[in-house]
């Protein structure tokens, strides 16, 4: 039996644990992953429901459960969790001051064969426009488990960005944590979630500090300023649209003149299918592509 647990399977396992442990935990699905969550739907039919293919109502129903004191977990594929029901997230949760967990799967271009309709590269960017939102980007299934447990009852709308891309090992992440993976001179590479391993590979032999976070919001602003040093040059390596973290990083470095560069998914609609690895290659987001970008930026 494989020891590798996917984030999607971990999402179901963690959710079922929470439903068992906490009578205020609730689950709302919109057809996606009903097989993986079958034990939740069967075991807790009063507070675990599949609403069918209606994502806006999935979010509205979850908000109604939150109004009654439940901690709803909402799960589907990234674009249908964040972009399609955006106004329900903004108003039913954000404006109303309610908490809930958006436990996503299929981030970035996991659904590489499906075309842009199924890609989630603008997910974090749109969510960050909601005041008070929290965005967690695990790089490993164990991190997803830790972050969901830490955040599911935090009283905020919280997106946990699950996807197929992952690092080999997990780090002891918490909401708001920032980790130094390697210290060096030169720039600070800030790897987000599943971008860590490929960033470490890309920077092999380079004189650079590598920092890691699985927590976009809250974000450790002081920590980054401290790590980046007196003449900061921060280069983000982001699994979503390039520059999504620009406002966050510039806020962290606001006290001193600094340089900021971003490596992420180019802001264009893809016109290719195939595999996520092929999209990484096209987007310059495999280790070789990141290496080439770093060399160009530091030339």
């Amino acid at each position: 039996m494989s020891a590798v647990v996917t984030m999607r399977d971990q999402a179901a396992a963690t959710t079922i644990d929470l439903l068992r442990e906490d009578p205020r935990a609730a689950l709302v699905l919109a057809e996606i992953s009903t097989d993986r969550f079958a034990r939740a739907l069967e075991g807790f039919p009063d507070r675990a429901v599949n609403v069918g293919i209606m994502e806006a109502t999935m979010v509205g129903v979850a908000a109604g459960l939150a109004m009654e004191g439940f901690h709803p977990i909402v799960h589907t594929i990234a674009p249908f969790l964040t972009e399609r029901p955006f106004e329900q997230l903004k108003l039913d949760f954000g404006y109303q001051g309610l908490g809930g967990t958006l436990l996503g799967t299929g981030a970035s271009y996991d659904y590489a064969t499906e075309g842009a309709t199924h890609h989630g590269t603008g997910d974090v960017g749109v969510l960050l426009t909601i005041p008070g939102v929290e965005v967690l980007v695990p790089g490993h299934a164990a991190e997803l488990d830790t972050l969901v447990r830490a955040a599911y009852a935090n009283g905020h709308l919280t997106y946990v960005r699950g996807g197929a891309a992952a690092n080999e090992a997990s780090l002891p992440v918490t909401p708001g944590s920032l980790h130094v993976v390697r210290r060096g001179g030169g720039p600070t590479l800030l790897a987000v979630g599943p971008m860590l391993d490929r960033t470490v590979a890309a920077a092999d032999g380079m004189d650079a500090t590598i920092a890691y976070t699985a927590s976009v919001a809250p974000f450790d602003l002081e920590g980054l300023a401290s790590i980046a040093g007196e003449r900061p040059h921060v280069i983000t390596v982001e699994p979503f649209y390039e520059g999504t973290l620009a406002a966050t990083v510039t806020a962290a470095l606001r006290h001193t003149p600094s340089r900021f560069d971003t490596i992420g998914v180019p802001r264009r609609f893809p016109s290719a299918y195939g595999t996520a690895a092929e999209h990484d290659r096209d987007n310059g987001l495999d280790a070789a592509g990141i290496r080439a970008r770093l060399e160009a930026l530091l030339a």
Binding site: V28, D46, M54, G60, V61, E68, P72
Partner: protein, 226 residues
């Protein structure tokens, strides 16, 4: 405390708007809201968050003057608040905010949000073993919004007997709405269409719940009358 009268409410509405002309859309809701708060809903103005209260969601959040006036008349908040209606330093906007106004369950304004949330509220109440009911008010034109029809499809599937959809039909929809019995009935909702000004008819229809499926009440307001 002496129970408020409908005349008290009308006076409070005038106090909010600053004249005798009532906002059109709030007047179309006045009789139905009056009947809900006078005869149907179990609520406690002294304890707006009472766990056993019935839940009321004003999905059609615009034109809330009648709603505010009834809540104030029943003592959910001081009547003086009506003087600040839509003012920068007031708590009563032209759409209600649950974080600002005692007795308001949902912050609304953007159409098509209340019914899906009310489905979640009714589901949560049932999961808690509560006998409280959930009533959600929508406008006929608001039902143009597709999210309502998602929820109208979903609620009978979930067998939400605690849920009542109250449609204020003042014939404001530019899109033909057809027969409510046919449209809502085909989704599995029993429908009662009543004169939107007839208090006894509204009360009878709003009390007629069913254990295993949601119910709809359409309060008909004659065309051209607001």
């Amino acid at each position: 405390m002496v129970s408020p009268t409908l005349e008290d409410v009308r006076a409070l509405m005038a106090r909010a708007t600053g004249d005798e002309k009532h906002d059109e859309s709030s007047t179309s809701t006045l009789d139905a809201l009056w009947v809900l708060y006078d005869r149907v809903l179990r609520v406690d103005p002294a304890d707006p968050d009472w766990a056993e209260r019935d839940r009321f969601v004003l999905s059609k959040g615009h034109g809330p003057v009648a709603y505010y006036a009834i809540l104030a008349a029943r003592g959910f908040f001081p009547r003086e608040w009506l003087d600040g209606f839509m003012r920068h330093d007031g708590r009563l906007g032209s759409h209600p905010d649950r974080l600002l106004v005692p007795g308001v369950e949902a912050s609304t304004g953007s159409l098509g949000h209340g019914l899906p949330m009310a489905v979640g509220v009714a589901l949560g109440l049932r999961a808690k073993g509560s006998s409280s009911r959930t009533v959600v008010l929508c406008g006929d034109a608001e039902l143009n919004e597709g999210t309502n029809w998602e929820a109208i499809l979903l609620a009978p599937h979930l067998r939400l007997g605690g849920l009542t959809l109250l449609v204020i039909d003042n014939h404001s929809s530019s899109i033909a709405t057809g027969s409510w019995q046919d449209r809502l009935g085909s989704f599995g909702w029993p429908v009662r269409v009543v004169d939107g000004h007839d208090h006894n008819a509204l009360e009878t229809a709003l009390r007629a719940t069913e254990p295993d499926r949601p119910t709809a009440v359409v309060a008909d307001i004659p065309e051209g009358e607001w």
